[in-house]
């Protein structure tokens, strides 16, 4: 994952189609994570705040990384992504080995 952007509520996006999001440094723990996983998180940089739907304000001190979609779903998406990668790698190797 080369770039991650956040919107005004610190939700992550992997593209910036309207140029309105803020590019941020990709957290190391996003290495190897699929788009569905990443886009289910908020990354709140130090100095930023966001407001949850119930009115609770988080920040501004200290960078935080926390899901805004159910974490169980994000973990399941990542698990499926890794399974798909493993299957693709295995199929590729079989193809190589057959030559």
């Amino acid at each position: 994952m080369s770039k991650v952007y956040i919107d005004s509520e610190c939700r992550c996006h992997t593209t910036n189609p309207d140029g309105t999001y803020t590019e941020i440094e990709v957290p190391k723990d996003f290495d190897g994570k699929c788009t569905a996983y990443i886009e289910g998180f908020r990354v709140r940089p130090d100095g930023y705040t966001y407001t949850r739907d119930d009115g609770t304000v988080f920040g501004p001190n200290g960078t935080s990384v926390t899901p805004w979609k159910p974490y169980d779903q994000l973990a399941a998406s990542q698990a499926q992504y890794e399974a798909d990668l493993a299957e693709a790698a295995s199929a590729y190797q079989e193809g190589v080995d057959s030559v």
Partner: protein, 257 residues
């Protein structure tokens, strides 16, 4: 559960009352009936409802007391028979939106917070996740130095080297399903960076398997950090960690949710 009206006790069959107080000071100075739920709000309470999920037809002033399967202040809602209630948090419908309000229970002549403590100024709150330790945790390539336990705080401290993280984690995972936020009161001894509060579904081994984390502020003041955990369900391990090369560490005074 049912829908009750106004700041009144629910009749002769109910074992509790719901009352509003304009300020925390007003609440704490009051001595109401046993099992009174005190709501701190400036808005008139027009009724209350106990429910695990958001009421579908709220009215202005309604207080929604969300309930779960465990609570820091469970009680029997009935005078006869038993209906055990596990209040988690309270919200009031104001201006067409739900707003969080502070709620406490009056029990044995004392007000009790609805918050669950995992560490409280020297009390390790062993019944909530066990003791604070480094045992059972790991991080590839790094040693995890155990916490130092003082009278009123836990000190999490590295050794200033390149491969030793200071570490303090709860022995057991805790159920955070009904919790919206986790709060910690900390003091960063020398204002160093790289300290963090981490929640992970397995005993911590790396930030890459963390479900959520927040870095501690880089100043030396006593700070309250709050991590949004509203989308976490199930059990998680709570832990604090220094980065490598940090040597002065930080104090943990309180952890609650």
């Amino acid at each position: 559960m049912g829908w009750g009206t106004g700041n009144i006790g629910g009749g002769t069959s109910l074992n509790f009352d719901v009352k509003s107080y304009a300020t925390e000071e007003a609440l704490l100075s009051a001595t109401p009936k046993e099992n009174t739920i005190g709501i701190i709000t400036e808005h008139k309470i027009t009724g209350w409802v106990f429910a695990a999920t958001e009421p579908t037809e709220p009215v202005e002033g309604m207080v929604w007391i969300s309930t779960g399967t465990s609570s820091a202040i469970e009680f029997n809602a009935l005078k006869k028979n038993a209906l055990q209630v596990y209040p988690i948090s309270a919200k009031q419908y104001v201006g067409s939106a739900w707003m969080s309000v502070t709620a406490m229970n009056y029990h044995d002549a004392k007000w009790y917070d609805w918050v669950t403590y995992y560490y409280d100024n020297g009390d390790e709150c062993e019944s909530n996740g066990g003791l604070w330790t480094n045992s059972g945790y790991s991080r590839s390539g790094y040693s995890l130095l155990p916490p130092t336990k003082e009278d009123s705080y836990i000190l999490v401290k590295g050794n200033g080297g390149s491969t030793a993280n200071g570490f303090a984690g709860k022995e057991e995972s805790v159920n955070l399903t009904d919790k919206d936020s986790i709060t910690a009161v900390v003091v960063n001894v020398a204002g160093e960076s790289g300290y963090m509060l981490v929640l992970s579904s397995q005993k911590f081994s790396s930030p890459t398997n963390a479900a959520a984390y927040v870095q501690l502020p880089g100043n030396t003041e006593e700070e309250t950090i709050v991590l949004d955990i509203s989308e976490l369900s199930g059990s998680y391990y709570i832990a604090f960690m220094t980065g490598v090369s940090n040597k002065n560490g930080f104090k943990v005074l309180e952890v609650s949710a």
